[in-house]
Amino acid sequence: MTIGATSAHGSSGLRALDLAAHYGHVTALDGIDLNVPRGEVVSVLGPSGSGKSTLLRVVAGLEPTAAGSIFWDNDDLTSVPPHLRRFGLMFQDHALFPHRDVLDNVGFGLRMQRRPRAEIDSRARRALARVGLDGYESRRVHELSGGEQQRVALARAIAPEPRLLMLDEPLGSLDRELRDRLMIELRTLFVDVGLTALFVTHDHDEAFAVADRVLIMHRGRVEQDGPPDEVWENPATEFAARFLGFLNTVTLGGRRVLTRSEGMHIAANGPISGTVVGRTFRRDHFLLTVAGTDGARYEVAVIGPGVPEPGDGLRLAVDPDSCVEFPEL
């Protein structure tokens, strides 16, 4: 199964220019530029309501564009109906056909391409095997667990070998353990197959683990677009920074900066004093919520032993290297 040509990397694929979309009077997309070169996996990260699902629907052709254009290589797809775009979309709630069994769901796209029956059968089975569901062919959709439905939806989306695969919160409704496992499997699948993929999530781990590039969206606009490590370390805007966990606002050398919970530590001679008001255990550390005497609240990651209890007083220091600064702060 080869989708797209990795040799053409970077020079072709999906290009969306200045996309805009409205729901009634609400602007859902506001001048989006987007590139997904062949073979690349791009994740769109943003809070609920940021317009990221709309972006997928517009690219899929399910929503009309108010402005802008969509290209694949050099073909203008802006007014091409969804069934002719040869894109795949994995829906958030899977949208599996309840009246068909698993194999029929997976083979649907190939049937639409009028492939020979034997080919449909073997390719659908192959797609099912790829998501680890061999043996589920004749199962009914509503008999499956959430994780299994999610895999069927993925198999259905990849079976017709779309030139662009889009996924809307693909791991959204799954439990953490399953999500962690599927995240790795998704990444493996994308790389193995050389898929060109665009996927949407509100979950940081998902976005950064699976993608070659991360796009941060907010209020229908792109806040930042870059490789995962760069975006994670150097958020381009205050919104991006806060969304990515830079929750503490501190004064460092007379300047207001943002830092993550890992960017602060307990220090007997630290400049900030406060009282612990909350303590939660986070697998490899404790997260303390500290009410500062300056009136601010701080989130601090602390590794034991001797983690302070709620009510304890402490002093905090900031690691200058882990801070980001924005002009408007």
Partner: protein, 563 residues
């Protein structure tokens, strides 16, 4: 979720999910044209004949009708007995709908098909059955309701129970029980769950079935004629009396107009009550939602419903069957044999086998036309509703009109209007199935639209993204998921055609009678043997109908998760 997130499903036209270029308006014209030619034109003709005097329109007849206090009383009685019948039917039918939707027990499927039998029995037969049941010496004679309005109301519930149970139950069986469970966990009592969660979700189906029951009881004819005696008359029986007995077309036409206006007004009110928006309910397969009853409470509920079905539906039918065997010489097949004999030597009566064949062929044709016309209408209605606007409701209301117009008027109108080229259909075989189609189409629409409305729009989008063209999307998603509704609609249409009497009596060729017409002819002949033979023919019709409905509903698409 902020306002910028896409709402649950597209709000406007979705390009591609459905082609903009597809000429929906032209398609919508098919049912409208059918209605215009086979309903508006004939009914209009007969009304015009009544109101057109000396070359000009004279509305004096309507004034005369409105001024006549006797006719005013008839009109008032018509309205309130219909309202009371509807309330009673819904009250008794809702638990029945719940029974079939939520509980899976031995014989449930058979019972679900069997309850439709009363709905399609010829009204005169039901009238006789209730007389036998409630009269002196009858099993329920001690109630003393024989000559009261209660007899009429009970007979109406008997007739229409299946309408409520099947229409409401059809939706109920697909409702996700987890919503009710969620409400229970949030602290709502069973009663409050029903009022605040279940009832609002069922509202469209309840309103739709109530509208149908109201129309049927509003234009009730045979039941009132037999059970009402001299005390009770409705607009329908009055129109029949004026047309067929007094030959006063002017008054009959005026009454028809009054009836039609009342129906339009009441349907309009019903349409408003139904609400504008039907949300996608996230329906689940029926097999998922039904479970075996457990606990004394559940079993008491099942038993209570079964008792209602047995008493209200079973008893009159049992009396009917009992009478068909109760020959003077003791229980025997005598009346059935007599039925075989009456075919010979009589121009009025044909062999029962032939009447059965007539009824079945008419029913096949009527079902096919009704599915075509009603199916197109349902698709257009659901499509237009999604885009907003009033066209959908108008079309729905227009096609329900024939239910509100006296079958007598329609039948008579056919004879008067469809007698000249190019519509000289007076002697055409098609006249009967066409008349049946008029009655069956609203049922087809009302059975199909709730299911089609509730199809998750994302399924269509998923199909489109996977490469299905708009027509293919329709075939793969709407038609497949709606297949069950189509089967139920077909069952309804077939049964209605088998039982239709009012219009058929006017237009059927004498040598090609249907089974109900044969029964009526037998009933109007003197003698215990004729009456017994009528009962025997009624039993045959009953068995035929139940079998047909069972067989049709067995056609279901594999893998739809339906029972």
């Amino acid at each position: 979720m902020s306002a910028a997130e896409p709402p649950n499903g597209p709000v406007g036209p979705t390009p591609g999910a459905r082609s903009r270029r597809f000429p929906w308006v032209l398609v919508a014209l098919v049912p409208l044209a059918f209605l215009a030619v086979f309903f508006v034109y004939p009914v209009g003709s007969i009304m015009g004949r009544g109101l057109w005097s000396h070359g000009r329109l004279s509305l004096g007849a309507i004034g005369d009708v409105v001024d006549d206090s006797g006719l005013r009383r008839v009109a008032w009685f018509t309205v309130w007995q219909a309202a009371a019948s509807t309330l009673l039917t819904v009250a008794i039918g809702l638990p029945g709908a719940c029974l079939f939707a939520r509980y899976d027990f031995r014989g449930a499927r058979f019972l679900h098909a069997a309850i439709i039998v009363p709905f399609v029995l010829p009204t005169v037969v039901v009238g006789s059955a209730f007389l036998a049941l409630l009269g002196p010496g009858g099993p329920l004679g001690f109630l003393g309701v024989e000559n009261t309005v209660w007899a009429i109301l009970l007979a109406h519930v008997f007739f229409n129970y299946a309408v409520v149970v099947r229409t409401v139950g059809g939706l109920w069986s697909h409702l996700d029980p987890r919503r009710e469970e969620a409400a229970r966990m949030l602290g709502a009592s069973r009663a409050r769950v029903f009022v605040h969660v279940t009832l609002p979700a069922l509202r469209p189906a309840i309103a739709a079935s109530a509208a149908i029951v109201f129309l049927f009881t509003f234009t009730s004819f045979g039941v009132i004629l037999v059970l009402g005696g001299p005390h009770f008359a409705t607009l329908e029986t009055e129109i029949y009396r004026q047309t067929a007995l007094l030959l006063d077309l002017r008054t009959a036409a005026a009454l028809s107009i009054v009836q039609l206006v009342a129906v339009v007004v009441l349907l309009g009110i019903g349409g408003l009550a139904r609400g504008r928006h039907t949300v996608s309910l996230g329906l689940r397969p029926a097999t998922d939602t039904a479970q075996r009853p457990h606990g004394p409470r559940a079993w008491a509920f099942v038993a209570g419903n079964l008792a209602v079905i047995a008493g209200l539906l079973g008893l009159p039918l049992a009396v009917l069957v009992e009478r068909s065997f109760a020959t003077p010489a003791g229980p025997s097949f005598g009346f059935y044999r007599a039925l075989g004999d009456v075919g010979t030597g009589s121009t009025f009566l044909v062999a029962p086998a032939e009447a059965i064949r007539n009824s079945l062929t008419y029913a096949v044709a009527a079902t096919a036309i009704a599915l075509l016309i009603g199916g197109i209408a349902a698709v257009v209605i659901v499509d237009r509703e999604r885009r907003g606007g009033h066209f959908a409701r108008a079309l729905d209301g227009l096609l329900a009109l024939p239910l509100g117009v006296s079958a007598v008027t329609v039948g008579f109108g056919f004879l008067i209007a469809l007698d000249s080229r190019p519509l000289d259909l007076r002697t055409s075989w098609w006249l009967v199935p066409i008349a049946h189609t008029l009655v069956a189409t609203p049922f087809v629409i009302r059975t199909m639209t709730p299911v089609m409305r509730s199809i998750d729009p994302r399924l269509r989008e998923a199909a489109a993204v996977l490469g299905a063209r708009p027509q293919r999307v329709w075939r793969e998603v709407d038609l497949r998921i709606g297949a069950r509704a189509v089967a139920v609609a077909a069952g309804f249409a077939f049964a209605i055609s088998l039982g239709e009497f009012g219009a058929t009596a006017f237009i059927v060729r004498p040598e090609r009678p249907t089974l109900p017409v044969v029964i009526y002819r037998l009933l109007s002949r003197p003698g215990a043997t004729s009456f017994g033979a009528a009962m025997a023919a009624s039993v045959i019709l009953m068995v035929l109908t139940a079998t047909a409905v069972l067989v049709i509903e067995r056609f279901h698409v594999p893998g739809t998760g339906e029972r």
